[in-house]
């Protein structure tokens, strides 16, 4: 490998390989564009669930809701994670991406799949929500798009393993991966599990949509679909926790206080977190009590324990680092002196709070059989995962973008004043959104529902009047989150396109 293909990053001292840099750039920019599209859809559906606004038409509400799930959850998150794959398996190890053409092939497949899916949903041929529960049927192109996207994603996640094998051969690391890379290794392992389940179910469903197979069992579909759908959220958790550790290291020089503890937590994720898929099936007819209890209680709580460990280890790494910098007065001087106006840092901190308090705790609660029965498919469920994947993962990734802009894009942040506020505006918006969704859900307000006044129905149920306030707050939180989202897109895309070039 020619030496001129590398440069040394002036901020981090990392050795960066040109093809790796390009792959990270393209995946990240694509991710941000899909976040913009998904966020716009989120804004419109939030306005629709605000009863006095009720913005979208019946059809568009379900269509845009389907797109919101796909663009925000699937495309933004996975494209960004592929960027992280290269960052942690090549950049952090000061080594190269071994098969750049595979990276580009994977990227192209993902993009083609993503375009297919968006196109077919916009065209009105797949109003099925991203869960596409059979026998509700979408156009064959929809499933084809998902399959192509998944093949591309598998290629890219798989690249992680190729990179680390080569890196070890090249002596880029001796025994242990850096913790940031180890977390992504966990993510990539789970990705393989996830995409294998995806293949098992989506390929038959594709044939079914073309009329080549006549019957897909809805119970089997739900089992395997959630073997895809839930662990893919655990990919996000692993990637997010890795990002926390990395942001802590890059912004304040934080060091995991105990590698053993942090790594154990990731290992517990790898082994046990995925069976929590079951919590989607707790009120299904199909599975026995024991299948439900073992999978959700016994196994999952080992993973919950792991999250508790990270919740300790990441702040501890920040505290130790800041105390070493001399902020030792009292218990909390380090906390006051933390770089709260650095958007990468504040995004990480807020991400931890939102993920832990809004997403994590409610996830554990709603994941019990007793609670699930009074929350399943209510508005409380999107309330929960707007704490995890929107307040947690998305905000952490936003924070990491603020680091990628100087390190990888080699641009200075534009509009720094706005960037400073962005994590707070977005974080508060998401918090309001999430809390009000959960509150409305506790009265039984259904999710994915166009009209909770039930106009046109044979019987009409009237909810407790308290929900009016909560549903309006959904709109207000949605507006605030959307403003925070727009601020992010402006700063990120503005910097990438027009930021001052930084010398390398």
């Amino acid at each position: 490998m020619a030496a001129e293909d590398y440069r040394i990053c002036s901020f981090t001292g990392l050795k960066i390989h040109k093809p790796t840099e390009d792959l990270i750039k393209w995946n990240t920019v694509t991710a941000i564009l899909f976040l913009a599209l998904g966020g716009l859809m989120g804004f419109l559906i939030a306005l629709t669930r605000w009863p006095s606004v009720h913005y979208l038409s019946l059809q568009n509400y379900y269509r845009y809701l389907t797109l919101h799930g796909i663009d925000a959850l699937l495309l933004w998150i996975i494209f960004f994670e592929i960027g992280l794959v290269y960052f942690t398996s090549a950049v952090l190890l000061n080594t190269r991406t071994v098969i750049p053409w595979a990276g580009w092939t994977g990227y192209a497949l993902m993009l083609v799949g993503a375009v297919f899916v968006n196109f077919v949903v916009f065209a009105g041929k797949a109003d099925v929500m991203f869960t596409s529960y059979v026998p509700l049927q979408a156009d064959a192109v929809y499933y084809l798009g998902i399959i192509i996207f998944a093949v591309g994603a598998l290629t890219c996640y798989g690249h992680f393993f190729a990179n680390i094998i080569q890196a070890k051969r090249d002596g880029a690391y001796k025994h242990s991966l850096p913790l940031g890379s180890f977390g992504l290794a966990a993510a990539c392992i789970i990705a393989v599990l996830t995409l294998a389940h995806g293949a098992v179910i989506m390929i038959p469903v594709f044939f079914w949509s073309m009329g080549l197979i006549h019957y897909i069992d809805p119970g089997t579909y739900r089992l395997i679909f959630w073997g895809l759908g839930h662990p893919s959220q655990q990919i996000n958790v692993c990637a997010m926790v890795s990002v926390w550790y990395m942001i802590s290291a890059f912004t304040v020089g934080g060091k995991p206080v105990n590698e053993k503890l942090s790594r154990t937590a990731f290992v517990l994720y790898i082994f046990f977190i995925n069976v929590a898929s079951e919590h989607h099936l707790l009120v299904d007819p199909i599975f026995s009590n024991w299948h439900k209890i073992i999978n959700t209680s016994y196994m999952m709580h080992l993973a919950v324990f792991a999250s508790m460990v990270h919740a300790f280890a990441v702040p501890a790494s920040v505290e130790v680092a800041l105390r070493n910098q001399g902020y030792t007065r009292g218990l909390f001087e380090w906390l006051k002196k933390a770089p709260w106006s650095n958007p990468a840092f504040s995004a990480m901190a807020l991400s931890m709070v939102l993920f832990g308090f809004l997403g994590g705790i409610t996830g554990v609660i709603f994941g019990t059989e007793q609670y699930n029965i009074i929350r399943h498919n209510t508005f409380a469920i999107p309330g929960h995962f707007h704490g995890t994947v929107v307040g947690g993962t998305t905000l952490a990734f936003m924070g990491f973008t603020y680091l990628l802009i100087p390190y990888i894009f080699r641009r200075e942040l534009v509009m720094q004043g706005m960037a400073k506020w962005q994590p707070y505006v977005y974080g508060i918006g998401v918090a309001i959104l999430s809390i009000s969704m959960m509150s409305a859900g506790s009265f039984g307000v259904p999710r994915r529902h166009y009209d909770i006044t039930f106009s046109g129905a044979p019987f009409s149920f009237t909810f407790d009047p308290a929900i009016d306030m909560f549903m309006s707050m959904v709109g207000i939180g949605g507006i605030l989150a959307a403003i925070g989202g727009v601020m992010f897109i402006l700063v990120a895309m503005g910097s990438i396109m027009y930021g001052k070039r930084l010398a390398s």
């Binding site: 990392l14 019946l58 379900y62 952090l92 529960y133 026998p135 509700l136 001796k174 025994h175 850096p178 940031g180 069992d217 809805p218 119970g219 739900r222 550790y245 990395m246 290291a249 890059f250 934080g254 060091k255 995991p256 206080v257 105990n258 590698e259 053993k260 503890l261 299904d284 007819p285 199909i286 209890i293 959700t296 209680s297 016994y298 709580h301 919950v304 324990f305 460990v309 300790f312 554990v364 059989e369 007793q370 029965i373 009074i374 929350r375 399943h376 498919n377 209510t378 506790s442 009265f443 039984g444 259904p446 994915r448 529902h449 129905a457 044979p458 019987f459 009409s460 149920f461 407790d464």
Partner: protein, 174 residues
């Protein structure tokens, strides 16, 4: 650092702070770990259930037979049935209705059969907010004992097409 390879041996004993945190977390985890199974048997939060395979045609026949035998009236064009407590009760989901309207007696125990004629639906009893999935080709048999008199509504809470928001049924406990 999380961005560098750690020292050669990092498998080291925990410090005191870490031990305390791990102990507290383990304790919390262990509590929830036993709580759910224990409460499954001790509390009667989740109704006992059985599951069978049934085709939409078979299920439809069972629904019609029940209506024939136990129909007591009509409401908004929908038959109202009042089955005997030891007889099975069938509620049919389809795009976009819950059929028929059922009257149950307070304090009696019923076997409620739920199945769908077409796609998946969500059986949400309001205002008490209990939720179950209803799938085609599966019969979900819940053992329920209503304890409070009143009118209840069944709202569909799984997306089932453009009429989803109009899928509301009714249930009486007398």
């Amino acid at each position: 650092m999380a961005i560098k390879e750690p020292e050669r041996i990092w498998w080291k004993p925990y410090t005191r702070d870490e031990k305390i945190w791990v102990a507290v977390s383990l304790l919390w985890m262990f509590t929830s770990f036993v709580f759910m199974p224990v409460y499954h048997f001790a509390g009667s939060q989740n109704p006992p259930y059985e599951t069978y395979r049934v085709s939409p045609e078979e299920f439809d026949k069972l629904v019609e037979a029940m209506i024939e035998k136990y129909k007591v009236g009509e409401e908004n064009g929908m038959p109202v049935v009042h089955p005997d407590p030891d007889e099975p009760v069938f509620i049919r989901a389809s795009m976009w209705q819950w059929y028929p309207v059922v009257e149950l007696e307070k304090g009696k125990t019923y076997k409620i059969h739920l199945s769908s004629m077409d796609i998946q639906h969500g059986f949400s009893i309001l205002p008490i907010n209990m939720n179950f999935m209803v799938l085609p080709n599966y019969d979900y048999v819940l053992t329920l004992t209503p304890t409070t008199e009143g009118e209840y509504y069944i709202v569909c809470n799984e997306f089932c097409g453009m009429g989803h928001h109009m899928m509301v049924g009714k249930l009486y406990v007398k």
